[in-house]
Structure formats: structure tokens, C-alpha cells
Amino acid sequence: MAKLKNLEKYKEMVYTCLRCGSCRDLWDPKENVYGTCPIREHTGGFDVYFMRGKLMLARKALEGVIEPSEDMAKYIYLCSTCGNCEAHCRISQTSPGKVDREKTKLDQIKVIEAFRADLVDLGLALPRHKAFADSISKNHNPYGEPHDARLAWMPEGFEMPEGDPEIIYFVGCTSAYRRTELAKATVDVLRKAGVPFKIMHPDEWCCGSPLLRTGQRGLAEEVAGHNLDAIRRSGIGTVVTSCAGCYRTLKLDYKDLFGDLGFEVKHISEVVNDLIGEGRLKLKRPLAMKATYHDPCHLGRHCDYYDPPRELIAKLKGVEFVEMPRTRSGAWCCGSGGGMKSAFGELAIEIATDRLKEAKEVGAEYLLSCCPFCKHNFLDAKRAMGSDLEIYDLIELVSQAT
């Protein structure tokens, strides 16, 4: 029997699942949840496509009843780790008082990531995931782009506000190479607010999120350790991201890996709210749109970060805001997280079309988010569908409005 040493650590959690199936297709208006698992909805839908089946597979793999294989790896990687199942799990919501709750509380994402780490150790990582890991190793980004070009997006002649840097802007690979409009908008807003900031180039490497999500822990710890050292060396106390994935990784995973960070991690939407409140940033230009907001999984369910983006949208003049039914902890995943976009690209786009349809159904003209990865996948879905929905990151609207 193959040794599943990472999964073994979560054995108690695996056995805590009673297979009630709330991870399959839960409808609970009180929790804004209408359906639980996007993978289940866009595949054959067998139990193994959603968490109940994956945990049963984990249990039987731990018992040695079934051996890890490429087929098993496929099912374990068919999960965007969006956390909708965890957020609405009828077992993990409350556990009995006398039992150590932390020990048995089901943390589905941790279990899946541990299982994936074992699959990686057994040489069963998916080829596409290995490929981006190779790129991170060589280029410090998963996109195969040269590290030297990480700041190629920076507007020519950009004038940094004077003064010592107040914050580090951690750009992130997707904003640096694929959705550069987010990076441009972020520095534009910071400049307008007169916030001196530092970008850690050449010391900013991939945050490690794609590696951690796909079980490639060794390299993840290496890049995380590098970034952590660079941040600490800077002596700056606040790191700001415009990427939900970087935010989750810096805030939660770095802490898990290294303990107390010694600095704060903030999302740009929170920072902008503060800057507006302090009068440092003025919203000068009214917009004219009906917009809805998509909670990125890494911000919302993973970090319980739901209100700041909505508070910011409320401040933008001329934006008529409308919620989608599946919102906040019930938000339907865009489909691209957890290594899905790279390994199962078509499926990720298919899942994203659900969200675009939902946005249209509530009459929105704009679908806003706070994550370059979500935006990237939504744009792919928009092209695939021929949708006229506008896809924007919230920071882009702030840039337009200031």
C-alpha cells in the first residue's frame, strides 16, 4: 500500500464525514446556496466528483482497499477547492462539545490538498501542474514568462508618490503577465491617493498559491520562504494584493507554514475604502452601470471577506448594484481555482458560463470581481458564449472613478 503520509494526518477528518450529501446539491435560501458543487454539475455527477465521494475515496485509499493511480488522481484534482461544500457542510458546522472540535471539524480543502500532496509524492501529479511548477522553478511565475518582464506592464514614466513606502504592493503573477489592467489600475489608484508603495521586483516571486492548491508543497514552501524573507527585509508592515489568490496564500498559508508573519496582509478593496474614508482618494467621476459582484472563493469563503468590496461598490456613484442569488458564502465558483484552469481548462470555462448567465438573469450589465484569475476565466467564458456582459475587476472601476 502506498504511504499517504499527508492524508494520514487528516484521517480523523476523513472519517468524520457521514456522507449526508450536503456537498452534492444543497438548496438553502438562508445561506444563499442553490447547488453546492460546480464540478458535479458539469461532469457525470457521480459521487466521486463531489466531496462525499472524494472523502470515501480517501477513506478507502487510507484503508488500502484501493491503490492510488492516475485515475484516482484525476478525480482528486477535479475540484476547484472553492470551499462551497465546506461552507455548507452539515457535519462541520457544529461538532460535539466534548470532542476536540478542531481535530474532527471537517476541513475539506485541507484534506484534498493533503491528498494531492501524497499523489505528487507518488509521481501522480497532473502533467499541466508539473509544467507550471517547472516554470515557477525557472521563471518564478507559472506562465512561462521571463522574470525580467514581470514589471513590463508598469506605465512608462509612472511617478511614484514621494515619501517612504507605506505598503508593499504584491502584484502577483496573473496581474503581472495576463491581466495587467489590474496592476495598472492598482498603481494608478495608489498614485492618485498619494500612497508611496514598493514593488519587490526582482524579489517578488509567485506567491505559491498554484503549487499549494495542487499539492506541490516542496517548491511552494521554497517560494513562500523567499517572498517572506523579502517582505520582512523591507521592514514595511503592510502587504497589499489585488489578487484573491495571493491574498489567501499570504494571509493564511504563509501563517500556516511559518507562523506569525510580522506584517499585515490587506486586499486593495479594503485599502481603497480606507483611503476614501480618510479623504486621501476622491471619487470624481460618476459611472453609469448596473453591476453585480462575484465573491472570489479565495477572498470570500476562504477568508470570510465579503463586505469590503460591497462597501466600496456602494461608494461608487452611478453604480446600480444587484446581488445574484448565489452570493457571499453561497457564491458559485468561477471554476478556475485549485489547478482546474490549467488541467481542465474547458471545464473551468463551462463552469464560468454559469456565473455569467446568473449575472445576466439579475439584469446586470457588469460582472465585477476582485480577482484576476476569476476575471481571466470569465473573459474566456464571455468569448465562448458570445456574451455582451462586461467583465471588470473592482479596482478598474475605482481607477475610472477617481
Binding site: 457521514l18 450529501g21 438548496w27 455527477g45 462525499r52 470515501m56 484516482m72 460535539p96 474532527t104
Partner: protein, 477 residues
Amino acid sequence: MTKASLEAALNEILTERYVSNDPNVAIAYVRDTGIFEGFPPEEVVRPGSAEEVSEILKVANAERKPVVIRGGGSTYTGSCVPLMEGTILMDLTRLDDVVEIDEGARSITVQAGINWGKMMTILRQRGYTPGMTGPGSGWTATVGGSASVASTGGGRAKFGGICDQILGLQVVLPTGEIIRTGSRVNPYAKAFCRYGLGPDMTGLFLGDHGIFGVKTEVTMRIHPLAKSVVHFEYAFRSEEKAIETFAELGKVNELATSINFYDADYVSYSARRPGYAHLSGVEGEVLGTITAQSEKLALAQKEVFDEIARKHGGEELEPKRAKHAYENTFFPYNTYFWMRRDSGIYLCLANQNSADSLPRVIRGYRDFLKAHRDVVDKYFEYQGITVQTYMRHITMSARRYLPWKFDMDPEARRIAMDFWTKEIDFFIRNGAVHYWIGKIVGDRLYILVSKEYHEFLKRVKRALDPNGILNPGLFLL
């Protein structure tokens, strides 16, 4: 037919997307929510229509392949797991739409694989509710599965169980024919009653655990949402007085949607929790909910209850828990599964009940637990045990869940199963009528059922399912 040709035939019906013989897929279906474990199926299929179900059953008949029918997999007695090797497991959760809400006929027709949560959400948006609002597992339990196991749940006091609500079915017979039951058999009639066709054939398929056919549509009675909801909660210094009240309220069960009883242990357990200190010294509670189409009506009905409770010495409490139970239609699973060993007994009253034997049964059950104290204390100390006693002239079922640390241990599982079996025997011999039967209860029950009845069941089974392909192994068939 080889495995490959069976797979090809199933692919032809469903496309490869909904057919799998991958062991990684199959292994996930060896259990329901309980501790009983069956065999991995040879094939798993997810049909999306009655026609597809029919075609699969024709192939299965031709090949004498056993077929296991599964809805949400929410039972705990092994009713939807393969009891032998070489089965086709038919997962019906693709059939999850509302077919029709007929306000004139006051009925809803749904595909059998819809879960209660989804159906209730859609129905409530239209201003309706079924009488019985679903089992505790309703977030995930399917309506078809509930019909197959004769489930009960919210609203049971006034409306009874799901079988009392059902007006007709669409069923695919084991040999592949698609039939309807109830008034819709008449193509000109609406779906509003089960009768008018001679014998009630709907009942044949209710509680059948899928041995007589595959339900693909279920039609149920609907009612307008209540305009007034009033809760009641009475505390008693004597458990006997609480039972007397519970029994007497049961005689006017049509006045309340739920009537529950908590025994002395249950109340004592509650009293130790934050916010419930006022229950200290209370030996029994009766609580529940009255729903009506006007406040005046609801209050008048409650006055009847108040009077009965006062007569037996009941003190009225703020109905916090009754309100909570009503507002959380489906219990989160953990409130069932994680109840403490010492959390006591509670009874939920359903219509047409008789509570005469309750004190004797409760006393007997306590003695039974005392006699097995070593096993209970060792294996069910912290979590995982629940003793739910549903009463429906009288319906009782004890549920046994092992905490994770024992579920990992095969010996502990064996001991737990043995204990559970003894417990089931106790309830059967005390007049309990289980609603979730499955393999666990069925094997014990059919030892005690008359041979003549079992023979009759076999004859009906042979007539409908000559090759015995549907859910073999249940009810000792």
C-alpha cells in the same frame, strides 16, 4: 454479455458521461450514511429520464444483472448499497426537476431524484408547502427515496408521513414498462387523488425500498403556506404527566403540525447547556408548533392545547426550541448524529397514534440500555449515538452512529452492529413500526413476520420482477 459489452450497451443508452465502471467511482457507493458497508457496484449509471431507466432495466433483465436503486443515499440502514457483487447501481439524482405545480389540483409533481431542500424552496416561492415538509435529512434526501422508505418528518403530527401525502407516482417496472398510478392514469384527469381506479396501486410502491419498481416521478398534495404560526412548550415536574399530556394532545393531532416529547434525560441534558438553566428540575417537556390560516384560529387551537397541558400540571415556557425546530425545517445532520450518549429520548408524534404503551416502552428501553451499559459507555461515549423514537402508531427507530474513532476500527464496528441489532429487536418486540428498514432492520423484521406474509411478498415480487433484479437482498428476498 461481457463487461465490455454491458458497458457499451449502457453507454448507448446514457452516453459515456453517465456510465462508469471505474473502481474509483464505484467505491464511493459502498455505504449510505450508516455504518453498514456493502460491495462496490460493477457499473454506476445516472439516468436522466424514465425512458432511460426503462432501457437500462431491459438490459439488466436480459443479462440478469442486479440493479441497486439509490436516491440521495441518506438512509442509514443499508437500503441503497449493493448487497452483492456484480451490480448496476442506478443513481437517480439527475432526475431533479419540478415537473408541475398544479394549484387547481393542489398538487406538485416532481422528478423522484429532487431533494427536499430544492423542492421546498421552489414550492415556498409559489406560496405552498407539502403537508409533511420532509425528513430531517431533507437537505439531501430525495423525494423518491423518502417515498421508497416511507419516511416522515416535519408536519407529521397533522399530516402524517410522506406516504400519506402522495397522490400518485410514475414508476418504471422492473421489466421496463413505464406506468403511472393515481388519478392521472386517466389521461383526462388531474393528479389529485390516489383512488378511482379500483385498488390503490400507488401504495404498492410506497415503502417498497425500490424492490417493485423505480419511481421516476412523485405527485404530492400541497397546502397554502400558513398565515399564522404559534409555538408551544410545556414543562412538567413529572415525566408521567408529560407523557399523559403528549398522549392526550395526540388525540387532537389535527390541531398541530408537530407535537414532541422530551424525556427526563433529554431535559436534564438540555438543562446543562448554556441558556437552558430554567429547565433544571423539569422531568419532561411537550412542545411543538401550530400553523393556521389566521392568527385567531391558531390561538384558538393553542388554547385547546394549553388547557390539556394545564390539566396535567404543565407550565408554559417561552417556546424557544419549538420555534427553532420549526424554523429549521431540516435538522442539520449533526444534531442527529452527534447527540450525546446521555441525551435521552425524544418522541415525535404523527397522526393516528396511540401512546398507551409509551411509559412501558420507555421504561423497557432504559432497562435495555442499562443491561448493555458496557457497550454503550465504551463505544458511544462521546458522540455518534442517537436514540430517536418516532411514533406513528407506534413508529420507532433507534439509530446507531459510530464516532470516527470507532468507525476506523473493524472490531468496534462489529460490536456496534451487534448491539444495534439487539436494539432493533427490542423495538420490534415492543411494537415498533420502523420506517427506514433497509438491510439492517429488514433482516430482523422478516424473521418475525409471518411466513404467509413473506410468501405473499415473494409472489408479488416474482410477478413484477421475474428475474429478481431490483434491489435483491432486501426483506430477505
